[in-house]
Assembly symmetry: C2
């Protein structure tokens, strides 16, 4: 990796992928701390300039498997026994793999963990002078009234108060960011799933996106629970009534931050349980690993199709 390759006496350019931060062009060096990558130690345009798809998911192991799958499908499989190179190997907070124009990135659990990696991936794309990048979350979720194993492409997401925005304090004031989905991208993914892929069911629907797995999702099996079974059931039915088909912990922030930054994104999650039936994830690890591969299969096929392969 070359040193200071993009630092040849000029400041960062914003002519390719503008980001909504006027301060960025003033910076001589940018340290992307949580992925152990910096503009003065890595030649970002050479390393990442060709990226067109960023696929993000919770676990490093799943994203490593995904990178290996993409390598195979794009016709450049890894040698037997070799695992994909982790570009964020200087830390264990996140993992980043790259296969051709596809980045595979882990984001951990929840809004805050996703927020940190999104800021740094947006800046990585910006410093790398990438163009026309799409970001896809490939994840897991709880379903509502659909068979576990079904893949959901989110067409709208709502927060825990059932509003379609993400709200956060900035300098002591609440800032509201609308979670505006890229409807064309969602429809394109659904058309691909229906016509050219896959052996498993795929639906589009509304996603509840919250910052907690237990109370925030109306589970009765957390360490803390102040509501009754009846109150829980009434809430889940209310969700179902407004079109919510799955519940997870990241799509709202992803959609809101990508919209703000002008980057196209989508969320593709498999459901591991029907929350109208139960709270706990009782299926075998093997079944769940197979289900977890479904969003990866769909998205890999979609990328291959879009690349004309």
């Amino acid at each position: 990796m070359e040193t200071r390759a993009i630092q040849n006496g000029h400041k960062f350019s914003s002519d390719v992928m503008p980001l909504p931060n006027p301060h960025l062009v003033q910076m001589e060096t940018d340290i992307l701390y949580h992925i152990a990558i910096a503009t003065n130690t890595h030649d970002l345009p050479s390393l990442f300039g060709d990226v067109k798809f960023v696929c993000i998911g919770g676990q490093p192991s799943r994203m490593s498997r995904f990178a290996a799958m993409v390598s195979r499908e794009l016709g450049d499989p890894l040698p037997e026994g070799q695992t994909p190179q982790n570009y964020a190997a200087g830390t264990d907070r996140y993992a980043i793999y790259k296969t051709g124009p596809v980045l595979a990135v882990s984001h951990g659990i929840g809004f805050a963990s996703l927020s940190v990696i999104l800021h740094e991936i947006f800046k990585l794309l910006y410093h790398s002078r990438c163009k026309d990048v799409k970001i896809i979350r490939v994840g897991t979720s709880g379903g509502l009234g659909i068979k576990p194993g079904t893949v959901v492409i989110t067409k709208e997401c709502v927060n825990g108060m059932l509003n379609n925005y993400y709200e956060m304090p900035v300098l002591g004031k609440l800032v509201r960011r609308q979670a505006v989905p890229d409807v064309d991208f969602v429809n394109d993914l659904k058309r691909f799933a229906d016509k050219m892929c896959c052996s498993f069911p795929t639906v589009t629907g509304k996603t509840l996106s919250v910052e907690d797995f237990y109370e925030g999702q109306g589970r009765l099996d957390g360490a803390i629970c102040d509501y009754t079974q009846d109150e829980k059931t009434a809430f889940l039915k209310r969700l179902s009534g407004i079109g919510v088909v799955n519940i997870e912990m990241e799509s709202l922030l992803l959609t809101a931050l990508c919209h703000k930054a002008g980057i196209s994104c989508a969320t593709v999650c498999v459901t591991l349980v029907d929350r109208l039936e139960e709270d706990q994830l009782t299926n075998s690890r093997e079944t769940m690993v197979e289900w977890q591969s479904r969003p990866l299969t769909l998205v890999t096929g979609y990328i291959k199709h879009k690349l004309g392969l």
Copy 2:
């Protein structure tokens, strides 16, 4: 690990460590999904019944180093070259190590990631019939007006609106959880730091705890920034004026959930930067690794002292 050891025909007992969830006693089996541990596959009282301290921090690698350090200090060092056993090895979402009565657990980044592991650790302690457990976060933070490398023991934490509670939607309604610190525990840690430990400075102070590293902490170097340098500086000075000495992303939720569950907790974080001076973390990795070991050193010494060793 024995199977179904605590499932001999009886439901879970709540006579040792009650948790604020009346539904728990109705459950025949409890799958702690995100740590790949369950009551019907693990003999929890045998494995974890002696736990008295749970130390939590962001990164698995740091908590592994911490477990090795505790092993040495408690007089039972790991054999040369051996790494601590990860009890959550069935997943890569979190890592759990155990050394005598000390658990070392990774929590990832932010409230949501911490929330998932806290619910599951609380239930692990409950199912293991633990008594009188203390939870300590050993982490990193940005400082305000104090020298980088200083260790801060949080005596009060506030959210991004500068209120000392954590607020979250539950069944579509906002629930407010007061972040009430355990003042005696904080003072005990500070007394230990002053009298019996350490070569680095340790202070107590107020902590701002938010769900974002960039905008939420008033940084100018994120992918998105809608405010000016002057507005940022005014906010940081306002924080400093009300006694905030550091900024991080977990203590508020930790304090709020532990208070709700009746469990004693504290937050001990080193500062990696003085945010009144800069946003980026520009010190060398080696310096930061040394600084990151400081909370671990302080807490290991404290635990050793409390165990009478």
